[in-house]
Symmetry: C2
Subunit: 339 residues, 2 copies
DNA sequence: ATTTACTATGTTATCGGTAACATTGTGTAA
DNA sequence: TTACACAATGTTACCGATAACATAGTAAAT
């Protein structure tokens, strides 16, 4: 930059003005500076620029590596983030929320105060996310994605998990199912809780029978769906329909049915939640609830960027709609529709 | 920092020395400084620190979002990166190689020169990665992960794709299969090419019949495996074994067999490549080649970190071993083993 | 002609650290 | 006692940009 100034016989300051957008600079000077800049292969030093602005130009993305990184949901969300990024002076840095040092938010707060990032996207909230409160109170621009936190003070973008499960239940009920079981997700995830609660809620409202083993534990992984399916399909009072709290587990349930020589959906209906890419490829293609991961990513990133630009902490809890995707894994129960 | 200095009645410089590691500082002074630092809630400004060092403290991870982000492979690799990171003054920034601006390396070179990152990990190399050459010539510390590039000048960590396919072919051949088909990956990926070449190579060596349609195109996605499987299993000269260039497509092939009421492995053997989490959960559990994604990630990150620390560009091409995982998707061909 | 009001550019300080060299003080060898 | 080496700290400049204010020059208004 100093070189450019010398080359043009002017001050560094004027050069800075040109390069920053050239507001009040004589067109002739401007042209000369730009020419010199090109000639000298000038590139801004983002570090220096950000130092004066007190920003790093990086947005943290905190997510449990083990649970989400490498899943379709993560990928879609992240594509959403990137899409929202119009300006190219912001990039994304990944942090693992499972690391011990992050559990209490200490580490993230520290990283923020060290200007290591300008704001934070939290993907996949846990039940015990006390760390979110502590981040919030540290004044970090923050958006939660996945399920809205308890405190309404915190900005979040989620999808209608409750409504989604409602759609699934309603669909099965309408087909005539009365013995509906549920495979739930990890107990420490909020989305898992929301989905389970709504299932229980539905059963209560419609007065469906729910033997204790109808609520099977799961981990959101295919293997746990398989185990749960086995338990359900070999146990007493066999359900005619099984809701898995996500698609992966639904695949597992279908596998277990196959092992037991039960046909889906003829002998048992199976539904999932997420609408993974593979859901339409499976045999049978899976009836499930579509979760708008891409939109969620995009929207949350937009909120965060806006907050960073305006220096106003993000607010508001957005809940996106979900939709039921009817495919071929559901049918009327084998005994025929109930009345 | 200036505050601390004032508090202790000394200079900023001494404070800096203490905080940087306190080489030649009197223990008493050191203690006083540390106490004051804690009292004043001091946190380094990483931006400023890095400005003087000319480093950003961020490592770029360039990967095609569409192909790899959200896959198990990506997740494992990334966990490997994180594991390799002993020091916490380096974090990872994601870039999408599919973005037009990245195609020729221009954008990445620019980001590097703007101090936006200190080094680059390239995950998932394409055939037409001319941009890698241009990055190399720009002097960017660079490690390629996935398949080694043509130029041996460039540092890479890959796994033995050729050997892996060899293991699969050998396994099937030993079981007695002579009609072996192959579902290949996207034509623009290097790994896909390596795997295909080795299959063709094997067929040539063993003089196996290979009607043109035995080499089916694919995209590495389940749906393409399904289509390829359908074509192979309904076509003439039905193969007794099908090698899919990755696990996802193998799942698709199995689905297609199921649709056609063919049993795996009784009627047709199917193998994959990658050893995804779900491979062991599928029915039948998939015989496949285990790819050490985690180790690849770890190793490549180590190489890059070392390079950044020493200011010597990374070199050497490491090829990690793969192993055949025998499960239940392969058996002797229906006609009995050949001689 | 003088004031006014900009416009275009220059000055200086600052962001929060570090490098390099300068200075003081202290203990030890000559 | 003097000199020298080394330990502990201070000075100054600089990394590469920008903010805030200052100044010179020019055109329009009076």
């Amino acid at each position: 930059m100093t070189d450019i100034a010398r080359e043009c016989g002017i001050t560094k300051m004027t050069v800075s003005r040109v390069l920053a957008g050239g507001d009040k600079v004589k067109p002739a000077t401007k042209a000369r500076v730009l020419a010199a800049a090109k000639k000298l292969n000038y590139e801004v030093n983002t570090l220096a620029k950000n130092l004066t602005k007190g920003r790093s130009g990086f947005v943290g993305v905190a997510t449990p590596f083990e649970g989400l990184l490498g899943t379709c949901y993560f990928g879609e969300c992240f594509r959403g983030f990137s899409k929202a990024r119009k300006r190219f002076d912001l990039d994304f840095v990944l942090f693992d929320t499972k690391l011990e040092s992050f559990q209490d938010g200490e580490k993230l707060t520290q990283l923020y105060r060290q200007c290591r990032f300008d704001g934070l996207l939290v993907l996949g909230a846990h039940m015990n996310d006390s760390f979110i409160e502590s981040l919030k109170s540290a004044g970090i621009p923050l958006v939660i994605i996945g399920e809205k936190p308890l405190s309404s003070e915190i900005c979040s973008v989620s999808c209608d998990n409750t409504g989604g499960v409602e759609l699934l239940c309603e669909h099965l009920y309408t087909l005539g199912h009365r013995r509906i079981a549920f495979v739930e997700g990890p107990k420490n995830l909020k989305v898992a809780k929301s989905r389970r609660e709504q299932y229980l809620n539905f059963c209560r409202t419609r007065k469906l029978i729910t033997p204790p083993h109808y609520l099977q534990p799961g981990t959101f992984q295919m293997s746990s769906g398989r185990e749960a399916g086995k338990a359900l399909l070999t146990g007493h009072t066999r359900p005619t329909a099984i809701i898995a709290a996500n698609d992966s587990m639904a695949f597992g349930v279908i596998e277990s049915a196959r092992e037991l020589s039960l046909r889906v959906p003829h002998d048992v209906s199976v539904v999932g939640f997420d609408d993974l890419d593979d859901a339409s490829q499976y045999s049978p293609p899976l009836t499930t609830v579509h979760q708008p991961a891409f939109e969620m990513g995009k929207l949350s990133a937009q909120k965060l960027f806006k907050s960073i630009d305006t220096d106003i902490l993000p607010t508001g809890q957005t809940v996106l709609n979900v939709s039921l995707i009817l495919r071929e894994s559901t049918a009327v129960p084998p005994s025929g529709p109930s009345t």
